[in-house]
């Protein structure tokens, strides 16, 4: 039967034969669990017993859960502070590093290093930095100067920024590399022309560099937004004594999902939260892709 096919048909058969491997992989590893999670979000299941249908109960519970709204807010605080701050810092560093010749490679390596370090190890080191006297580095410095110590992680207002700081720092290396690649891609001739016209450095930055970096910026924004919306490792490891605490002030959505699933064994409720997170990520990505298409 195969030999009676035309060349074009044979090509199609072979194309599908090769495509079948990733398709099967994705169906089994990605799509099936995703669909399953959506089904579980309409069920009650504690991992041990039978699954029973719950209708919209898990979503109703979510809507009426004050902790969920607190966590929802925290998640967006991570996103809305983390993304712009890391964008600005990484651009400033990349912009200056790009002009630097002295020890360029070494400095670039230093900035990239945190990105390669595991989040868990980094989170624990920072957790100890933030401890009160006698073991915390920052507070020991303050105490030596006679300044009252700051309860970084035991504060409902300071804990979230304190956790966000190392998360931003960890992501900088990657963003700097991407920005530098973007800067290198801008043709030199534009700058030369501007300089011949006697344009100021600020104008060059605003009128040439930034507009031409837009695709790079959009990429970094999309990438880091997804990262901050899914923040987990840093928060969990820096607050294991009271995960997401104090008083839920640092808890992101992923941590709440984890706790619902694996400490409360409420799989239906966890799945409902996962579906909500999926929708948030979908919307944020679609909005950002739309901005990209406007280019």
């Amino acid at each position: 039967m195969y030999h009676r096919l035309s060349i074009r048909q044979k090509q199609i058969v072979w194309a599908w034969a090769f495509l079948a491997v990733p398709i099967v992989f994705y169906v089994v590893i990605r799509f099936y669990p995703t669909a399953n999670a959506m089904v579980i979000s309409f069920q009650n299941w504690n991992l041990l017993g039978d699954r029973t249908w719950a209708g919209w109960a898990n979503y109703a519970k979510l809507w009426n859960d004050p902790v969920f709204w607190k966590v929802f807010r925290n998640t967006f605080v991570y996103l809305l502070i983390g993304t712009p701050v890391s964008l600005v810092i990484s651009f400033v560093i990349a912009y200056h590093l790009d002009r630097l010749r002295f020890m360029h490679g070494f400095l670039r390596m230093l900035y990239f290093l945190p990105f390669m370090t595991t989040a868990v190890a980094m989170a624990w080191v920072w957790r100890w930095f933030y401890q009160p006297v006698p073991i915390g580095l920052f507070n020991n410095v303050l105490a030596t100067a006679g300044i009252p110590q700051v309860e970084f992680l035991r504060s409902t207002t300071l804990a979230l920024p304190a956790i966000l700081a190392p998360a931003v720092w960890a992501g900088l290396g990657f963003q700097i590399i991407i920005f530098m690649a973007g800067l290198r891609a801008i043709p030199r001739s534009y700058y030369e022309a501007a300089r011949i016209d006697g344009v100021s450095t600020w104008t060059i930055l605003w009128e040439i560099t930034l507009p031409l970096l837009k695709p790079t910026i959009v990429f970094i924004v999309v990438f880091s937004s997804i990262g901050f919306l899914r923040i987990f490792d840093h928060v969990f490891n820096m607050t294991t004594n009271d995960p997401g605490g104090p008083l839920n002030s640092t808890k992101p959505l992923v941590l709440m999902i984890y706790q619902s699933a694996f400490t409360d064994f409420n799989m239906g409720y966890a799945a409902a939260q996962t579906v909500v997170l999926f929708l948030i990520l979908l919307i944020v990505s679609l909005v950002q892709l739309r901005i990209l298409r406007d280019n």
Binding site: L47, L48, G49, V133, P134, P148, L153, R154, D242, L247
Partner: protein, 418 residues
């Protein structure tokens, strides 16, 4: 026929004897599951070896998992007919395991409830549901007050405190601050994230004249004068007496191990790791009594149960194995190897064990211990962590904070029991 490679000789002899006797008794293999904790695995290996030499026709295979995967694997395996015949579980999980039909009741002829109630410490009663016991522990745990002998000597304190008043005075003498007024050494560690939530629930609330729960732990009852007094006493260690700080050195046990805390309340399972801490000279005593001399304690335990997968001869073998792991001999081995306390007074309260310098205070504590029937231990603990945080960080009044905690916990219990 299964022949164990480690004991070919014995197995060979057993085979020969069986063949000679014309006995058709086949060898049975049963599976035992527990979570991985080094000393517990070593102890269980010893128990299995002893059991197998007493019962040459039964082979027990032990499988262990990291704690984090334990529940998921058990839940997936047993319904599929794959998992263990005898399984270890935390006492607080019993309801879930019974409801999910993962375990079956222990037979009344081998484990008569009246016998269990005579022989075991009373908190094991929580394992009875209806006419049967469903699971039994080998060992139990209780709380006690650890103290740093070096710091006691340094402060010129002759011995550990016996009452709550003495406890505060002792803690004051052990507290040190730097020039800026920051604590550099605490008199007592504090943190609801560690064992303090048990101390509060089952010990302090009772010592201040209350009853933490009613209706077999289905109704929260600590939002009372006694509860407020107990919470006031507890947070007072930090706010009023300034002998402690929440989050000091990250974790209470870390502060004690580092020699930066004079006293520390913890469970018997901490003994092993304190013994390994170099340079730490520690002692242990019973939790302080109130001014009327009334004491209380919290005890918890892991139990073994027969799963619904075990049938026929495997069931019979599982019953025999359960009888052995709940025997006096097994309990003494468990105490010697793991440091966890025997579940029967007949073993625990022997002269040698009850007067042991280290195990004694824990074992004496068992006699007046209570066991909280948790619906979700970590969620119930979180409620008390939050209660203290509201007082400590947000400056909320103790009475208001405890009212919020009681309401939240009641909601959680209602959801679980309905």
């Amino acid at each position: 026929m299964l022949v164990k490679l480690t004991k070919p000789g014995i197995a060979g002899v057993a085979t020969a004897v069986m063949l000679a006797a014309g006995s058709a008794q086949a060898e049975v293999e049963i599976e035992y599951w527990q979570y991985f904790f080094d000393a517990r695995v070593t102890a269980m290996e010893q128990l299995i070896e002893n059991f197998e030499s007493a019962n040459p026709d039964i082979t027990v295979t032990m499988t262990h998992f990291p704690y984090a995967d334990y529940r998921t694997k058990v839940a997936a395996a047993i319904p599929a007919g794959e998992g263990p015949d005898v399984v270890q579980l935390f006492y607080g999980w019993l309801n879930d395991y019974v409801a999910a039909e993962l375990i079956q009741p222990l037979p009344n002829d081998a484990f008569p409830p009246s016998m269990i109630e005579d022989e075991f410490f009373p908190m094991v009663g929580a394992m009875r549901e209806g006419d049967n016991y469903w699971a039994l522990p080998t060992a139990v745990r209780s709380l006690a007050l650890f103290y740093n002998k070096t710091l006691f000597d340094e402060a010129g304190i002759s011995g550990p405190p016996g009452t709550l008043d003495e406890f505060i005075e002792t803690a004051k003498m052990l507290t040190k601050t730097d020039a800026a007024g920051n604590l550099t050494q605490v008199g007592i560690t504090a943190g609801m994230n560690a064992q303090d939530h048990h101390w509060f629930r089952e010990v302090l609330v009772r010592q201040f004249g209350g009853e933490p729960y009613l209706d077999d732990y289905r109704t929260v009852n600590y939002n009372s004068e006694a509860g407020i007094a107990a919470a006031g006493f507890y947070t007072g260690l930090v706010n009023e007496h300034k002998v402690s700080a929440f989050g000091f050195m990250d974790e209470p046990q870390a502060a004690f191990k580092a020699g930066r805390a004079g006293m520390h309340i913890d469970g018997s399972f901490r003994i092993g790791s304190l013994n390994k801490t170099r340079g730490l000279k520690w002692g242990v005593t019973e939790l302080p009594a109130n001014s009327d001399g009334m004491r209380s304690n919290y005890s918890s335990y892991w139990v073994n149960a027969i799963t619904t997968k075990a049938e026929g001869e495997k069931y019979d073998a599982a019953v025999k194995f359960m009888q052995y792991v709940t025997s006096d001999e097994a309990m003494q081995i468990w105490l010697d190897v793991v440091g966890e306390l025997p579940a029967k007074p007949s073993v625990g309260l022997t002269e040698a064990n009850a007067n042991d310098e280290v195990f004694g205070p824990f074992i004496r504590g068992l006699a007046y211990a209570n066991t909280t029937k948790f619906a979700n231990e970590s969620a119930q603990r979180q409620i008390l962590i939050d209660m203290v945080q509201r007082i400590d960080i947000e400056g909320q009044a103790v009475a208001d904070s405890i009212a919020i905690a009681a309401e939240a916990e009641q909601e959680l219990l209602n959801e679980y029991h309905n």
